[in-house]
Symmetry: none
Subunit: 501 residues, 2 copies
Amino acid sequence: MHRGKTARLWALLLGIAALGSAAATPRDALIQEYCRLLALPNVGTDKAHVRENAEFIAGMMRARGIDATLLEGDTADTNPVVYGEANVPGATRTVVFYAHYDGQPVNPARWAAGLEPFTPTLITAPVEQGGTIVGPCLGTAITSPTWRIAARGAADDKAGVMTILNAYAALREAGRRPRVNLHFFFEGEEEQGSVHLAEILAKHRARLGSDLWVVVDGPRPAPGYKVVEFGVRGDINVGLVVFGAKRPLHSGNYGNWAPNPALRLATLLAGMKDGADHVTIPGFYDDVVPLSDSERAALEKVPDPGAQLALELGIAHPDGGGRPFAELLTLPTLNINGIRSGDVGAAASNQIPTRAEAVLDLRLAKGNTAAGQVQKLVRYIESQGYHVLDRDPTDAERRRYERLIRVDVGAGYDAQRTSMDLPIARAVVTAVQTTTPEPVVKVVSVGGSLPLIVFERVLGANVVTVPVVNYDNNQHAENENVRIDFLWDAIDTIAAVMSIR
Amino acid sequence: MHRGKTARLWALLLGIAALGSAAATPRDALIQEYCRLLALPNVGTDKAHVRENAEFIAGMMRARGIDATLLEGDTADTNPVVYGEANVPGATRTVVFYAHYDGQPVNPARWAAGLEPFTPTLITAPVEQGGTIVGPCLGTAITSPTWRIAARGAADDKAGVMTILNAYAALREAGRRPRVNLHFFFEGEEEQGSVHLAEILAKHRARLGSDLWVVVDGPRPAPGYKVVEFGVRGDINVGLVVFGAKRPLHSGNYGNWAPNPALRLATLLAGMKDGADHVTIPGFYDDVVPLSDSERAALEKVPDPGAQLALELGIAHPDGGGRPFAELLTLPTLNINGIRSGDVGAAASNQIPTRAEAVLDLRLAKGNTAAGQVQKLVRYIESQGYHVLDRDPTDAERRRYERLIRVDVGAGYDAQRTSMDLPIARAVVTAVQTTTPEPVVKVVSVGGSLPLIVFERVLGANVVTVPVVNYDNNQHAENENVRIDFLWDAIDTIAAVMSIR
């Protein structure tokens, strides 16, 4: 499909029902509908609101002629998958388009003045770069394609739902008939580690056969070229709590005598990496599967964004010992998401805190297992003299063990990588290439995580990812946003992929 | 003065005016007067109420035959010192008795049901240990000497004012004539860091000459023996902020490449101490004045509370390399009051934070200076590759320096120590010894901090501290309380000190 044609496919989106009659243009109508979706809180633990999201998306699908249904798990309170099929008579191949509609937890206090996670708001640019607020998304006409919509999930990953459904609608309005069966699968628990995904896939295995899953999630690289991603890292969170005295102590009356849990936690964390930010936990990298020849060749063609990112992010000297950015993403990580003990700022007092907490995020490379990485971490902690608990200590344990730590292991999953030689995956690359004059880059593995391994393990499925949103989207953090022209371009890109044979 | 006599000195307190005719006994009359003082809010920032306290105390002094006056500072809104003199014809020496009448800020919501900071209330025992409420202090007769009065300032340090003035009244009623001039100095800004104390001392220097200051503040040790304290540590706070990327980054998309400020701060803090919790910052202990022979001898006689405290606080192995508790309090400290980066718990997200903060509390030993300890810390930080700022970095600085840290230095003051060989200080110990059969313990330095160095610097004064209240008084916290029999005993103790030659 030629770029000149697809670039205006959105203009054909006139007939979609329920898009709001107040909208001035078809583009505005789509944005108004999208912002109604973004206004629904989507933190995965907020079960009632999550279900409102699912019902809204099912409505969007029905408005586009897709027979939508909610796939439930067996476990109570599982957030439903919104599922639909658009089958083509005579088609022999099936492609499933995946996105997730749940979002990361929010801390509204961290959002910039005038922005709220679930009040979609138009901004001229990222607020961190001096962007200003245009006004509420709902009811405001878009006059610049580079404006952004700020809201939790605007980029990650309601954008996937929005662009997949509108790509299909665009093809349909244009009278272009797909050659493969198109199925739609929108998950509601991705940001919670997809805890019930395997259960849902297994339960509904009969209708989930496919030749390829196309995941629409994650940002395009900063320089703007398009990519098809063949792998993701796995991920698991680990919470740590180091304990001090049973009650907070006056730092003068007890200083030099009472152990400080903040210092102990700092020491424990500091010992996990060397000066070059290489993880020193024994065996941490040992089970990583080496790159294949085609993967290594692909890596060499990835433009290195390091210098540009460093400039933009204010980083004088990145971690990684000078290795290319893309290569670093094929290795496991150990990241401190957060650390807290006592108080800082105006609330600080001269005390020795009772506990110190950290949350770690372990990204996994192909070959690592989530359980294995956690085991290496726990063994390291034990080697530092800690007695490990999965709860707060008893008085007897406090008396017995000099160093006590609580380790809370989250739900996690392993990395996944699809072969770069798979024909249908190569067809996706070719399709995306029709929408851009620049070479499409094949990515061995992105740094982020999706539970794609579950599709491989439960369904034997092949998976590739086509990311569509702007890279500077504050994904997972405050002031998350999506740039509107990226949404339009995404609709073109996905429509091209939907047109493969 | 023999214990048998002084123990009933309070019984002679019959003639003091303005004590309330409703009181059933002289003891009750003193408690009624004290509770009227405790009912006056005394948070230092509450200027109007603080002045009511000062006027009330001046009235107490006049009722006891002391010519009271308020010493004002030069700075507007300085809380006044309540000052008075009881001079003895022919006396050649002068002792100033110090207490402070202001209290720590209050959070009424934290106080137990039925207790309010400025409604003095009788309780049978600490509410945390199952104590129950007897009733309002005002109007209730005391039938048990181990009851407590719960109110802000009840222990810290209106108890100092109450017991100093009643000790003087008791001597007077008993017809015992002091041999030294007795002066009274009650400060109103101690809990705010005594910000104008040096100013007031300098302004009124002419009348503040003395041979010794006796500070009546702080709790007696838990085991109940009596102490005379010869020193305090100094104190200064330092805030640290380590910077990462300019915006929060997805821990997967940037993990292994973007530096994590929480890890960097952890590494920096961990490097400040060795495995034995000894500070490794070069020179940290170098300027500490070694203990004198008499100080070392005194240290050896201090009962060690470590084993009991460790049991009570749930500490299996205290810091300090096995050195006695009291000796550890003569050394400088480096304590982490609080540390924070990103989020933990339910708010945690998989991100690389933009900054990591810590607040440190440096206690100072004799010989250290606040500026000097901070300088050692800053030099250590610089030796770890950090460029030190006193504000957030500019973009140019972020591009130039690999490691950036903001260091915010608070107001601080140095330690103070009075020689144990000073004859008048030894006379205080001897006097206190007359009120107890157990050996009085001479404390080289307490772990906490008071700006006693100001008396030494501005007036060239000698200072000792005679603490009188129960240790379990919830000082600085909710449900602050004083045990009534400790007040009676304190009156005896101070009357004995007032009787030195």
